[in-house]
Amino acid sequence: MTKKLSKVFTGLAVFSLAGAALAGCGSSTDNKNTDTAGSSNAPKEQTVTWLSARPENGAIVQTVRELADRFAADHPGFKLDLQVTADRPSYLTKLRTLVASGQMPDFIDSDADPFAQELVNAGLLVDMEKFLKDEGLYDKFYEPALKYQELPDGSLYLLPMEYHMEMTWYNKKIFADNNLTVPKTLDDLLAVSKALKDKGITPIAVDGVDVWPVLRYAAMYPFRTTGNQFIRDLSQGKAKMSDAAGMQAADFASQIGKYFQDGFATTDYTTAKNLFLNGQAAMYNMGTWEIPSFVEESLPEALKGNVDYFYLPTTSNAVTPENEFFGNSGIGLGASAKTFDGLPKEFLSYVLKNYSDVYVAKQQMSPLKFTIDDESKFSELFLRIKKDMDNYGSEFAKPWDTLLDPNTNSVMSDLITKLTMGFVTPEDFAKQIDDAIAKNTAGK
C-alpha cells in the first residue's frame, strides 16, 4: 500500500513541479484590448492604455495623470488607463509577452534598444519624427534629449519624457581633509581614488546589482577619445574590444574597480547611495534624477554644505568637448501604429504641448524647452544644474547597454562585473566580448 501510494505521490510531485518550470515560458497575459465603442448617440467611450515602466508616484506619472484629467474634461468618454510596473525586468517581461500575444497597448515605454528596432521593423511603432514635425513640436525639444531616443540609423520612434545629466557627486569635506582637488582628467580620477584608498577611505560607492552604473566607467574613456563612434561600431561588429579604444576602456575599468566599495557586485541602488550619504564613500556617480537627495534640506546633518558635483573628467586626447558627457532622456515613449490615429494622437499632442508647465513645477528638468520665471520656487542646486543644462553640447554619451544586442549585454554584465572585481584580465575580457559580439552579430 505504501509503495503504491508513494508511487502516486512521486508521479504527482514530479509532474506538477516540472510543469511549474515550464509554465513560465508558455503563459500569456490576458490583457484585453480596452478600446470599447459606446452606442452611437452617447459620447464615444474610449480608453487609451499606457503600459509604463516609470515609478508609480514619480513626477512623470503624476504629470501625465493631471494632464489626462484636464484632457478628459474637454473629451467626454476619454479615459487613460495607466498601468505602471516600475521594476524594469518585470516591466519588460510584461511588455514582451503582450507584444508576443499581439496585444500591444496604445502607448508603451521602451529604450532605443534592439527590441525597439524589432518593433519598428515589424511596423508596430509610430514614426515620432513625422508626428512631431506635423504638430510643430520637433524644435520644442532639447536636441540631446531627442538624439538620445534615436535608433542607430538616426530614426526617431520614441519620445523623451525626462531629461537628465550624470555627474559624480563628491564629499567636499573628505576631499579637503586629504588635500585633494576635483579630478580634471580620468587619470586624475584614478590618482584621487588611489590617494583616498591609501588613507583607508572608500573612494567610490557604486550600485553593482543593476550593473549599468559599473558599465558607465568602462564607457568613459572611449567616449572621450572617440565620441559615441566606438560603441556604435562595437555593437555592429565593426570595431573590437581588443582595439586600442576598447583596451583603454577595459584597462580603466579594471583599475577603477579597485576603488569601489568591497563586495560592490551585490550592493543595490539604495545601499550604494546611502554609503555616500552617510559619508562612508567619497564619490558617487549618479544623475540629476537624484537632485532631491542632494539638496541641502534633505542631506544628513554631517553632509550639509559638503556635497558638490563634477562632470565626466576629460582625457589628454579627447575629441568630445568638456560640456558633453553622460546624460539621458530616460526610457522613451512609443505609440502603437495600429491604434494611434484618432484619440491617442490627440492626447499625446495635448500632453506634449502642456508638459513642461506641469512637469517643471515638480522640480524636474523637462526635455521640452522651458524657462524659469520665478526662481524662488526652485532650489539653488536645481537652478545651477539648469544653467549647466542650457550650456550642454549637442549629444549625450550613449550608455553601452542601450546599443548592444541583448545577448552581448548579458555576457557584458557578467564580464564587466568580473573585470572590475579583478577576476578577469582586461585582455580576457576583450577577447570574450569580441567572441560574443562576433557570434551575436553574425546572423544580422
Binding site: T2, K3, S6, F9, T10, A13, V14, F15, S16, L17, A18, G19, A20, A21, L22, A23, G24, C25, G26, S27, P89, L92, T93, R96, T97, V99, A100, F115, E118, N121, A122, L124, T202, G208, V209, V211, Q261, D262, G263, F264, A265, T266, T267, D268, T271, N274, L275, Q280, P406, N407, N409, S410, V411, S413, D414, L415, T417, K418, M421, F423
Partner: protein, 291 residues
C-alpha cells in the same frame, strides 16, 4: 458509498480537477516543447528550426556553467534540507516536553516570504556596510576571514545556496518527525529488550521504518533544487557565478527574448528532473531488494 463504485460517477467527480491539471500543467509543457523547436522573438512569425536550439544549447559554455552550478546548488540544498532536517527530527524525537515549540520555531523560515529572506541574507553576508556574518567573524577574532561572501565568485554560489537550504530545514524536519513518531512503539520496545540501543536503534529500526518518507523527501527536495530559482535570482551576483539553469532559462527567454532557446532549456530541466527521480527511485528500490 455505492455511487463511488459507479465508474461514470467517479469520472464526473474527477473530471474538473483533471481538466484543470491538464490545462495548467500539461498544455504549457507541450507548448514549450513546440517552442523549443522554433526561433521566435515574440514579434516576428516563429520559424521552425528543428534541433538547432538544442545544438546551440549543448555548445553553450554559459549553459554548461549553469548546469555545473546547479549541481553544486542541489548538493548543498539537499544536504541541508534532508540530512540536517533528518538530524533535527531524530533529536526532536527524543524530546518529550516542549517538542511543539521547537517544531514551530524550526518551521518558521518556511513561512517567510522569499524576497524577505533573500534581502535578509544579502545584508547578513554584506561586507560594506558590515553585515552580521562579518561582524561575528570580527567579534570572535577571525577578522582575516571577512569577505564579501556574495560578491566573491569563490563563495557566491555557496552563499546563495545556503538560504534556500536553510529555509526548508524545518519543513523537512516536520515531515520526518511525523514519520518517526508514527513508528509503532512496540517495535522499538521489542528491539530495546533485545539489547539494541542508541545508534543501532536509529540505524536498524528508525531509518528503515521511514524509508518511504525519506525517498519521497529526497525526490521533492532534489527536483525542487534542480528548479531552484528565486533566491539566486534575487541576490545572485550579476553574471555567471551564481547562474542556475532556471535563471539562465529565464534570462534567455525573457531578457534576451529567445523564447525558443529558453524553452529548450526548460525541456532540459524537465528531463533532468525526471532522470533524477528515476535515479533516486532506482537506488531506493535496490536497497529494498538488499534488505
Amino acid at each position: 458509498m455505492n455511487v463511488l463504485k459507479d465508474k461514470k460517477a467517479w469520472l464526473i467527480f474527477i473530471l474538473p480537477a483533471l481538466i484543470f491539471y491538464l490545462g495548467t500543467v500539461f498544455v504549457p509543457i507541450i507548448q514549450s516543447l513546440k517552442y523549443s523547436f522554433q526561433q521566435w522573438n515574440g514579434i516576428q512569425e516563429p520559424a521552425y528550426i528543428g534541433f538547432d536550439n538544442y545544438i546551440a544549447m549543448f555548445k553553450d559554455s554559459y549553459f554548461w556553467n549553469s548546469v555545473q552550478n546547479n549541481l553544486v546548488y542541489v548538493v548543498i540544498v539537499v544536504f541541508m534540507q534532508v540530512f540536517i532536517g533528518l538530524f533535527f527530527a531524530l533529536m526532536l524525537s527524543y524530546v518529550t516536553k516542549g517538542a511543539g515549540i521547537f517544531r514551530t520555531l524550526y518551521y518558521l523560515p518556511a513561512v517567510v516570504v522569499t524576497v524577505a529572506i533573500a534581502q535578509m541574507f544579502r545584508n547578513f553576508y554584506s561586507l560594506q556596510p558590515l553585515g552580521l556574518l562579518n561582524m561575528f567573524l570580527d567579534w570572535v577574532g577571525l577578522s582575516h576571514l571577512q569577505s564579501a561572501w556574495l560578491s566573491n565568485p569563490h563563495t557566491a554560489l555557496i552563499a546563495v545556496s545556503i538560504p534556500e537550504g536553510w529555509r526548508f530545514i524545518g519543513m523537512y524536519m516536520v515531515i520526518f518527525y511525523a514519520a518517526l513518531i508514527a513508528i509503532p512503539k512496540e517495535i522499538e520496545e521489542a528491539a530495546t529488550i533485545d539489547g539494541v540501543s542508541g545508534w543501532q536503534l536509529i540505524r536498524y529500526i528508525k531509518l528503515p521504518s521511514i524509508m518511504h518518507v525519506l525517498s519521497l523527501s529526497l525526490i521533492m527536495c532534489t527536483t525542487g533544487a534542480l528548479r531552484g530559482f528565486d533566491i539566486p535570482y534575487i541576490i545572485g551576483v550579476p553574471g555567471s557565478a551564481t547562474e542556475l539553469v532556471t535563471t539562465y532559462m529565464y534570462k534567455q527567454a525573457f531578457s534576451t527574448i529567445q523564447y525558443g532557446y529558453g524553452s529548450s532549456i526548460a525541456v532540459f530541466i524537465v528531463i533532468e528532473s525526471l532522470l533524477a527521480v528515476l535515479l533516486i527511485r532506482a537506488i531506493f528500490n535496490s536497497r529494498k531488494g538488499d534488505a
